[in-house]
Amino acid sequence: MSPLELVDDRFEQVARELRAGKPTAPAQLRERVESLSPPPARWAPPSLRRLAPAVALSVLAASLGVAAVVGVVHSGSKSGSRVEVFRAARSPAPMTESHGEPVPLPLGQALDEKQRALPHAAGRLQQYDASLTLRVRDTDELSRRTQQAMRVTRTLGGYVASASFDIPGRRGTSALVLRVPIDRVQRALAQFSGYGTLLSQRISVRDLQQRADAQSSRITALRRGIAALERRLEGSLPTNERDRLERLLRIEKRRLVAQQKRLRATVRRAELARVALTLVTPRSKATAAPSRLDRTLDDAGSVLARELQILLYALIVAAPLLVLGGLALVAARTQRSRSDRRLLERS
């Protein structure tokens, strides 16, 4: 459509005259323009329109590059979290602990049934804590061995303090906390050890005899003190003194009761050993060790996710400033446009 077709017929003649009289550039001006030579090349900052996509592409490429490098590098080291969990369950050397001092035992030694558990010292009060982790063949075995361990504990005169049985899909786990009479804990541990492959073992024996002796001595002293007070109260005393001694007697009796409770608790602690028995099934082969490609993808994915988090955070933080900047830009352009219009209307 010709521009003139948009013009009303009334203006056709004026338009034709204007076009016919279109001013032409004088020859002098033409020569002046044609003689223009290109300016010497100088560095100029690239325009924002061209710079923005380039920067965005560079950032994207850098992000992907970092993710890829991290993925490849980490996949080779097998230090992924899943692998780490797997190794943590398998690798710790069995430990034993005596009088609060942990002593590592070689795995072969730990598997020797005779040395599997430290025997408690007969005739002495001891706190005996044992922790065993065993791998059983499958989930059926896991269930069977769990029930068996509970049955054995009851048979030995102990009880099950807590039990947790979990088969989440990859690996079944049964965690039992058992209290076993300390003189039978050796038998219990010997039986539990036969349930599967020993993965870890930790035994600690803490001597309670000294504490019990101290508590007994304290009780004896308290009893002597009470007897002395009672003897004094049998005689004639001033009212004030009698009141004071009676108050003291009540306090001492309360102390005696508390001390006796503590001694009973110490003895009870020494009567029952605490055995934490954990049974696990092996991981299925398909999920036991992820392939290098899986680990690469996992690591790269997590890096990308982290980068996206950072980007999102930066956008959220910068968004108000960007919006304000954009509004300011639009306002400035509008103002400039109006200013130009007024300038041209005045000219």
Binding site: M1, S2, P3, L4, L6, V7, D8, R10, F11, V14, A15, E17, L18, R19, A20, G21, K22, P23, T24, A25, P26, Q28, L29, R30, R32, V33, E34, L36, P38, P39, S47, S337, D340, R341, L343, L344, E345, R346, S347
Partner: protein, 170 residues
């Protein structure tokens, strides 16, 4: 190779569109001498910025007219500042210009009518009628919408016709 081709493109664009840019600036300024200076200035700027020209965003004529308008606006701003500084006499002298300047062989009535229009009105007439740019290109040069451009053209032409009629009657 690409830079040399661009320089050749510029030379061709300058040769083809020099008259258009000059005519546009004549209408915009109403002063042939100023228009010549501004035309030369426009092409100097165009040569410096030729590497930024993107044919996908409009033809070279539209781009050159945008540049010419920007150059003219700079000129008007500096003139306005100068007029503020100078005496009223200088302003009066500037307004006493009577020689017809807009075209070759235009009737005196049309010349006078064009002189009565503002630069804003003359520029839309120059772009749409004289240079025969389409509405979209004109709107791009003026930095307004196509509908606003049509409205502005219609009002400018009505005013022009009114001024021509008044001039003929006188």
């Amino acid at each position: 190779m690409k830079a040399r081709a661009s320089a050749e493109d510029f030379a061709e664009a300058a040769r083809r569109h020099l008259d258009d840019v000059h005519a546009f600036l004549v209408y915009l300024t109403g002063d042939r001498a100023v228009a010549e200076d501004l035309t030369a200035e426009t092409f100097t700027r165009a040569l410096e910025r030729w590497h930024r020209f993107d044919p996908r965003r409009g033809g070279p004529r539209t781009w050159l007219c945008q540049l010419a308008r920007s150059t003219a606006l700079d000129h008007f701003r500096s003139e306005e500042r100068r007029r503020r500084r100078e005496s009223r006499y200088a302003v009066a002298e500037l307004r006493e210009r009577a020689e017809p300047v807009f075209g070759e062989g235009l009737s005196p009535a049309l010349e006078r009518a064009l002189a009565q229009l503002s630069a804003a009105e003359r520029e839309v007439i120059a772009l749409r009628i004289v240079l025969e740019l389409d509405g979209e290109a004109t709107a791009r040069v003026l930095g307004i919408s196509v509908s606003a451009c049509s409205t502005r053209l219609s009002r400018a032409l009505q005013k022009l016709e009114k001024e021509v009629s008044a001039g003929v009657a006188a």
